[in-house]
Symmetry: C2
Subunit: 428 residues, 2 copies
């Protein structure tokens, strides 16, 4: 039997799980601070939920299987289809708009490589049921707060923002009404030489005027550059949304974290409005997070037309970035409040003392079999315990214990009933 | 596209997820209080990890499939095989004994019914690497603390304890050296008429003396009754373990939660020593928790011989029991600290104020589009917010805000910089 985890998956020994928890807890803290409510769904869904959203091609990237009842199922590769299903299931009974978050475990059958695994976690935050640009403002503010929560700063990351709606309007204005053929090229533009990009557009039948216009749009890095290109009513409306978004985020003192980034296309995905991606400042890693507005998903999956906007942050790239910036917590001092040390008088008394302490919400542990005091002290240190409590030092029957702070080395004698008070007195 | 979750799985809308979190958080709190460290593993493993432990028959109860690389995988039906794999993977590099816990999501392809779903959560606590009965004491103490953490009392549940080692010794003493044929019958004894039980033993070739001895053992409800039956050295040693276990738990004031229960066999599973199950006091539901000592698992899965003891508590039966006893939390008052109310002057200012509050670790939310004050107040109440903050009431430029406690109805005027102080002053 193999002792390895299946390819593309991870084992989380306690020292690694502590780091996962550090990430999950920060994610959750920020979501709650923003008033988002947590939800979850099954890890597998009917396969058609995913093909219904993304087409049959998605199947090659899924862990899909037939269960013993002949149902076609797939491990979820993303959370949004489940979210749309939940929205469709409750229909009118769900008060909208609402803000929800989830921390799903997700699965993609693809080549595992740096920043990309077959099994990973993702935080998803979504606002469902309003077409107001305020939803985007709320979410982008949250994503910045999320990254700041890990002590990442404006010099570490940037939220690149664009608008699929504006792009579609600009394309339409120059005579390209179906953007589907052009989008994949725009998506790859940043990674190809300019001539190759232009040649490819030409091959699609675009004339040089159209190609120039596209290049002009793609070179925009500021809203006011876009203004000169947004000529039709549709383009102006789309641009106005972007302007309001930047205004709100600027008023919230977040302007140093955001920028117009026309290279953010989000592939061929289902986005219909604002799209955004977060990258480390050097763009040396994969995207840390990405999202945008999707108008048609619920309807496409059989429900009413309900608009949504949301983003996902994966745990893998984020952890790589935090590790690079030395922002992951050290694993010391995560141990219990007390390590109980037995003086060799009545080892089993440790269990009763431990039970009593735990009733007072004190975290404690001890060896499981009698050991020499020196060995127990070693184990106390290894456990990351903050204090040791010498049990059996109450020979006098006076119920007094010796305690020692393992950080400061300070040792003192306290009454049994004062153990909780002793803990509360300790400086952080 | 179906709007239903796949059969045997659950959707967790926020009101349900809150209850899940209530359970998970209590589980985690107690584990940490007992000094257990969290670990996790992949949701799917090589199929042979499970057949290697439980035999090929297990496959009928698994979600198993081939991935696109031809690997035979299965969604984990329990956590212990993964735990054993982790132990085998690190081998000597893992300091033992250790206490670990995990809250895995698990999958069983079986008929879903009350208390049993195809996708569920389970808390697992295990101690690996010591054969001392102290490990069982630690775990059973923890399981009682876990249930007490939910305000369940001695009148609500009982930990039934038995010893497979003692049972095997007693059977061997009466000439039954291979207990494998008898165990399934003993497991079902409580659910069949006495005559049927005896007939079935007779069919297996047992004589009436043997049957009487078995009945005598199975009727034991106290340690001292067992004493008269434990005659061989092996039986005496096994009994002594049980006695020490009861002694320690009694010294820890836990005697009212535990009882000898010979009907606890734990099926044909891999247990080799103490076994235990927790039932609601009327035994009207499925087991709330169960576990025991397993000596051979790591070795069976290709590692060194390492002993372990552990238990699992599922979320489904526990939630049913807590619901029946009215011990699940009400969903009120889980909302943010503040709901910001806009006076219709500059709606977008809400975002800046919210950002400022959140920087101070204050949870807040607000409407996403301008609404009448009355409607915003309604939404504040529905969100479960504790307070409302009327924004735009600082017309004077004096940076004063009206705040209202939604529980007490008390309204007051505070300075913008004192909002955090105001919150801290509020009674719980």
């Amino acid at each position: 039997v193999s002792i390895q985890a299946p390819k593309g998956t991870r084992d989380f020994y306690p020292e690694t799980q502590r780091i996962q928890n550090f990430i999950f807890e920060a994610w959750k803290r920020v979501c709650l601070r923003y008033g988002y409510e947590e939800y979850e769904g099954p890890i597998f869904e009917d396969l058609e939920l995913f093909t219904g959203k993304s087409g049959d091609e998605i199947v090659t990237q899924l862990y899909n299987f037939q269960d013993k009842g002949g149902r076609d199922l797939a491990l979820r590769p993303e959370m949004t289809p489940t979210l749309a299903r939940l929205v469709n299931q409750k229909g009118q009974n769900l008060r909208k708009p609402f803000r929800w978050f989830s921390i799903p475990r997700l699965y993609r059958y693809e080549r595992s490589q740096k920043g990309r695994l077959r099994e990973f976690f993702q935080l998803n935050m979504d606002i469902i049921g309003t077409d107001s640009i305020h939803a985007e403002a709320d979410l982008i503010s949250a994503i910045i707060a999320l990254l700041k929560e890990f002590k990442l700063e404006a010099q570490d990351f940037q939220v690149g923002i664009s608008s699929r709606k504006l792009l579609a309007a600009v394309l339409s204005d120059i005579g390209i009404s179906d953007s589907a053929t052009v989008l994949p090229l725009l998506d790859k533009r940043a990674k190809m030489p300019p001539e190759k990009f232009e040649d490819s557009l030409q091959e699609l039948g675009l004339n040089s005027e159209q190609i120039n216009s596209i290049n002009e749009f793609m070179k925009c890095t500021h809203l006011n550059q876009m203004k000169t290109l947004a000529l039709s009513d549709n383009a102006k409306k789309a641009l106005e949304e972007l302007e309001i978004l930047f205004e709100i985020l600027t008023e919230s003192n977040l302007e140093q974290y955001i920028a117009i980034d026309t290279s953010v296309i989000r592939g061929l995905a289902y986005y219909t409005g604002i799209v955004f991606e977060v990258f480390d400042k050097n763009k040396s890693m994969r995207a840390i997070a990405g999202g945008g507005r999707y108008d048609n998903l619920c309807e496409k999956l059989g429900g009413d037309p309900v608009t949504g906007v949301g983003f996902g942050v994966g745990d893998v790239v984020l952890k790589d970035l935090l590790s690079e910036k030395n922002l992951l917590p050290l694993s010391d001092l995560n141990g219990p409040d007390f390590y109980l040390i037995d003086f060799g008088e009545n080892f089993r008394t440790l269990f009763a003392i431990a039970a009593e302490l735990r009733e007072q919400d004190i975290c404690c542990t001890h060896d499981l079999v009698p050991k020499k005091i020196q060995k127990q002290l070693e184990n106390a240190h290894k456990s990351g315990a903050k204090h040791v409590l010498f049990c059996g030092s109450d020979r006098s029957g006076s119920d007094q214990y010796e305690v020692k702070n393992l950080q400061t080395g300070v040792q003192k004698t306290i009454q049994r009933q004062n153990i909780k008070a002793y803990l509360n007195e300790q400086p952080e």
